[in-house]
């Protein structure tokens, strides 16, 4: 066969997004993953690290080491990269509000190991805009946050030239419900906002600005409509080429290339019949691999058990093998772009480009992406898009195999194991991390720490680049919480609009029309029987940023007649119980996807009891394994909902019945 002689393209970087429990446990995982043929690292940090709290902060309770690795100081970083040569590794870090800090720890560690930072390569995600819109690990207001991004860009361009200082993300927008056009538009608006900010800083000479543009990379999503997704990536390439040429006058076409990494869609991965997710993941990967001209530079794939909980090493291995089969067994990498010249593809690309242009103009007319975030506009657009998606699933217009059609199934052997088919993080991790941190605090020089922190505050106030003083902090042994708090003291904190205040679309049918009418009558008559309209508190306790479920429940509840209080993400159990009391609600609905539901629900219940609100029913939703749902019921939780409960009308009817039952009224039962 002549295929032996055929020249093959080099495959993309293959990563798995991972990290859990502790630096030591994560390091062991990374080294086995690399041994299996993974070619880069992608670090998942835990939520305290992402939101700038120490492991022993009360806000970190229950979250340390859960959804990622806890990194509290430089010794943790050292352990995370134990026996991994920093100058040879390509390390992607999903880190945003605290990106300058984690990058400083990485650079500090390299310096300590005698490695020239110029040799470091990798990526800090460092895109705050999508944190406000979807991902939720923001800390500071938009102004200072954009400045921190500009600082890392200005610093790395000069001192760590192979680093991608920011990864503009449309990935998370799709996970929050964005359409392809919205993804294109908002990601490109974000990129412009970042580049404009760097330009305005005046730190880069105009003739060197092309290099800055070249360092901007993207992190993109690919959903199951893979033909359209493939076109979206071609559209991205075209639009970026044009934008960088016209707006930033980048003459060299090589520097205008749209460079991107991918994680394929997870929102569409299902809890029922989870094995079907494998097909979905593979098809989604095609979208970003098929077209050579628009091919991803790096790919990471979710696992088949995505909607159940965290993946185990074997699940991640399976995902890695999918990439390897496509890259090494198929003939894909032997061809030039197989879609070039297709009029069908070209027409679809044009359609997407035109739609995105219109939305970009719309945002520009509102004063740019930051103004459109502060006003709540973009978030409302995303919430509305997601609502459309859920309605389509409910009506059956959007088919999801195993969920709203073809539900019959044999029992899956994949989920039968004693671990329930998911990874359980080390329950001792939190305590051990706290002990490690407290021991570390005793060992370091307090004078050095104070001096370094003073330097950090001074830089934050004066406007000097934040990186040199942050690296000094890293080397002095400053902790993540200390770094975060120092900047909180200067910049303040920020909560973006929740975006749920969208108009009721009276033209579109809300789910099944007759059911909605029926539901409204049930809500109204139950309210009348209790003397006042039903009032619901939707609460998101802990550091969890997954807001989709809470938003959709809140909007739907409003649509069927509830008065809904929803204050957004990252509240303490105490704040939630206090809101329940002050607002006089009939029910508290908690949404928790971070895996910390046991700790958090229990403290909310406790806080409610201490306020004499034990009679207010509490329900919970999110990623909650059956085993835990049973335990929650024993604690007094009235109902638990998980992704398999996709029908919002059914949930609403159930909620009304929970309230009725708690108040001694007869249940009304299922909707007709």
């Amino acid at each position: 066969m002549d295929s032996v002689q055929t020249k093959r393209d080099r495959p993309w970087l293959m990563r798995t997004y991972s990290g859990h429990s502790s630096a030591r446990a994560s390091n062991a995982l990374y080294r086995t993953n690399l041994a299996k043929g993974q070619t880069g690292l992608s670090v998942a940090f835990d939520l305290p690290t992402q939101t700038g709290y120490d492991a022993d902060s009360p806000l970190a309770r229950g979250e340390v080491g859960k959804v990622g690795v806890p990194i509290s100081h430089i010794e943790d970083m050292d352990q995370l990269f134990d026996q991994i040569p920093l100058d040879q590794m390509n390390t992607a870090m999903t880190i945003n509000a605290t990106a300058p800090w984690l990058l400083s720890l990485y650079i500090g560690l390299a310096q300590r190991r005698g490695i020239d930072p110029k040799k470091l390569s990798g990526t800090t995600q460092n895109d705050i805009i999508k944190e406000y819109l979807s991902r939720g690990t923001y800390i500071y207001p938009p102004g200072p946050s954009m400045r921190l991004i500009a600082d890392t860009i200005n610093y790395t361009v000069k001192h760590v030239p192979k680093w991608n200082p920011t990864n503009i993300c449309s990935y998370h927008l799709q996970e929050a419900g964005a359409t392809p056009v919205q993804e294109l538009a908002y990601a490109l608006c974000t990129a412009t906002a970042v580049l404009d900010r760097v330009q305005a800083s005046g730190e880069i000479r105009p003739e060197e600005f092309s290099q800055v543009v070249e360092r901007i990379s993207f992190f993109v999503n690919a959903g199951i409509r893979f033909v359209e997704e493939c076109c979206k990536l071609r559209a991205f390439g075209e639009m970026w080429d044009e934008l960088t040429l016209t707006r930033y006058k980048v003459a060299d076409p090589k520097l205008r290339r749209f460079r991107y990494g991918v994680q394929v869609n997870s929102l569409g991965l299902t809890e029922p019949q989870p094995e079907n997710n494998v097909q979905r993941i593979v098809l989604e990967m095609l979208a970003v691999a098929l077209s050579k001209g628009a091919r991803a530079r790096a790919i990471q794939l979710p696992a088949w058990n995505e909607a159940m909980g965290l993946p185990r090493p074997w699940d991640q291995q399976w995902a890695l093998r999918m990439q390897q089969v496509l890259a090494f067994e198929t003939d894909l990498l032997e061809y030039e772009d197989i879609l070039d010249g297709s009029p069908v593809i070209a027409a679809k690309v044009r359609q997407l480009v035109e739609g995105a242009r219109r939305e970009i103009e719309n945002v520009e007319a509102q004063g740019g992406i930051i103004a459109a975030i502060e006003s709540g506009y973009v978030k409302r657009e995303l919430v509305a898009s997601h609502m459309q998606r859920l309605r389509a699933i409910e009506s059956g217009e959007l088919k999801i195999i195993g969920v709203n059609c073809f539900q019959e199934t044999a029992e899956s052997p994949l989920t039968l194991g004693s671990d329930g088919g998911i990874m359980k993080t080390d329950p001792a991790a939190e305590r051990e991390q706290i002990e490690r941190l407290q021991a570390h605090r005793k060992k370091r020089s307090e004078a050095d720490v104070q001096a370094a922190l003073q330097g950090l505050s001074d830089a934050a106030r004066s406007g000097d680049n934040i990186m040199p003083s942050s690296i000094r902090c890293a080397l002095a042994g400053v902790s993540t919480g200390e770094w975060g708090d120092s900047l909180r003291a200067v910049f303040g904190e920020f909560r973006p609009p929740t975006g749920i205040d969208i108009a009721i679309d009276s033209r579109a049918v809300l789910g099944k029309k007759d059911q909605v009418t029926d539901l409204r009558a049930r809500v109204a008559s139950t309210g009348a029987a209790l003397g006042r309209p039903l009032k619901l508190l939707v609460g998101k306790p802990g550091l969890d940023g997954h807001s989709n479920g809470a938003e959709q429940i809140a909007v739907k509840a409003r649509d069927v007649g509830f008065e809904v209080v929803y204050d957004g993400i990252r509240l303490t159990p105490q704040q939630i119980a206090q809101a329940a009391e002050e607002e006089g609600v009939h029910m508290v609905g908690l949404s928790i996807l971070s895996g910390s539901h046991m700790e958090l629900v229990e403290s909310v219940l406790q806080e409610l009891r201490s306020r004499d609100l034990a009679s207010v029913p509490v329900i919970a939703g999110g990623i909650i394994p059956q085993e835990d749902a049973t335990k929650l019921a024993a604690l007094g939780v009235s109902a638990v909902y998980t992704p398999k409960d996709f029908n919002l009308n059914t949930i609403m009817a159930d909620m009304v019945d929970v309230i009725r039952h708690a108040n001694g009224l007869e249940r009304l039962g299922q909707l007709p």
Partner: protein
């Protein structure tokens, strides 16, 4: 069931006067409750709470303006200053409900804008849906603000008002403050409509955005006075930034100054009494129409009866309501007979 859980009003009143948060919450729930037994107890609760304080103490501050003007952010900034000065604050934040044919639900999202992240026992926030009543203001505001006045130094009522009608602004507080959106069409509209003269204090928020805010402030300053303007009050226009926390202390001083002015001119008690009869008239009118109101002798009679019974206005209102109800019942007897026959 539900009724069995209704609290004993007199006991509840004692606990509210002691400032117990759970009691305040329970009292507000009771006032919100429209079951007949709850209405009776509500009247008893308010009677037990009132007395001199309802007419002469505390400060009811109304904050209104178009959506997005920054009312909640501003209230938050005002609260920060008040709390620093050791004054306790109750807030009623009113948001619109969706139309009845669309389910009548509501999203109440002001809490988090108003509240600073730290826990604070001296601040209590209740959000309310307007339930499509009275041009933007929920009828529950009247009894609820009365309750809050019994246990907080300052009670703030935030309502969305686009300035199209007088009701949504005039009678929500001792001191009414209108928050304008810099350079917005709403504000211009508002200026033209002349209603601009109703609020006691004007605020142009978002001064941090610069020229547009200053321009709006100067336009407001120049607007023509209305005939019913009080000559001895200066109707200040304040340029502030809620997010940058500038101009807030001065604004709060205007609030204090306005209250002092009302007390000095012996207006506070009469103003509250007038507002309350305004509420009662509108409540009765909304429930029974002009015809119903006539059954008890019309507006003037309402004013008179309330005036005679200043400390028990809510009870008086309940009495008038029941009176009209019974008249309605007896009037509708024959028709219900015919109904039964068909």
């Amino acid at each position: 069931m539900a009724q069995a859980n209704l609290p004993e009003p007199e006991q509840l009143a004692l606990r509210i006067l002691r400032g117990e948060r759970a009691a305040v919450a329970g009292g507000l729930n009771l006032l919100d409750n429209k079951l007949p037994e709850a209405r009776n107890r509500s009247a008893r609760l308010l009677a037990a709470l009132s007395g001199e304080r309802a007419l002469n103490d505390g400060h009811l501050v109304g904050v209104t303006g178009p959506p997005g003007a920054g009312k909640s952010s501003l209230v938050s900034a005002m609260i920060r200053e008040w709390r620093l000065a050791g004054r306790t604050v109750g807030v009623l934040a009113v948001d619109p409900s969706s139309r009845p044919e669309l389910g009548g639900g509501a999203l109440l999202g002001d809490r988090i804008r108003i509240k600073n992240s730290s826990h604070d026992d001296g601040l209590f926030i209740r959000s309310l849906a307007n339930r499509n009543q009275l041009g933007g203001v929920a009828t529950e505001v009247w009894p609820m603000s009365w309750l809050m006045l019994a246990c907080f130094d300052i009670v703030v009522i935030e309502t969305v008002g686009v300035g199209q009608t007088e009701i949504d602004i005039a009678e929500i507080g001792d001191t009414v403050c209108y928050v304008a959106q810099p350079a917005s069409g709403d504000t211009i509209q508002y200026l033209k409509s002349g209603i601009i003269e109703i609020p006691d204090i004007f605020v142009v928020n978002k001064s941090d955005i610069g020229a547009a805010a200053r321009k709006t402030a100067s336009e407001l300053g120049r607007s023509a006075p209305r005939p019913d303007r009080r000559d001895d009050w200066d109707y200040p226009v304040c340029l502030v930034s809620a997010t940058m926390n500038t101009g807030i202390r001065q604004l709060n001083e205007h609030f204090d100054r306005h209250r002092k002015y009302l007390v000095g001119a012996d207006l506070l008690g009469t103003l509250r009494a007038r507002h309350q009869s305004g509420w009662v008239v509108r409540l009765l009118k909304e429930e029974f129409g002009t015809f119903g109101l006539e059954l008890i002798g019309g507006c003037a009679a309402v004013g008179e009866r309330l005036g005679e019974n200043q400390h028990r206005q809510f009870e008086e209102y309940e009495r008038m309501r029941k009176h009209i109800l019974s008249r309605f019942m007896s009037a509708s007897q024959p028709s219900s007979l015919t109904k039964g026959a068909s």
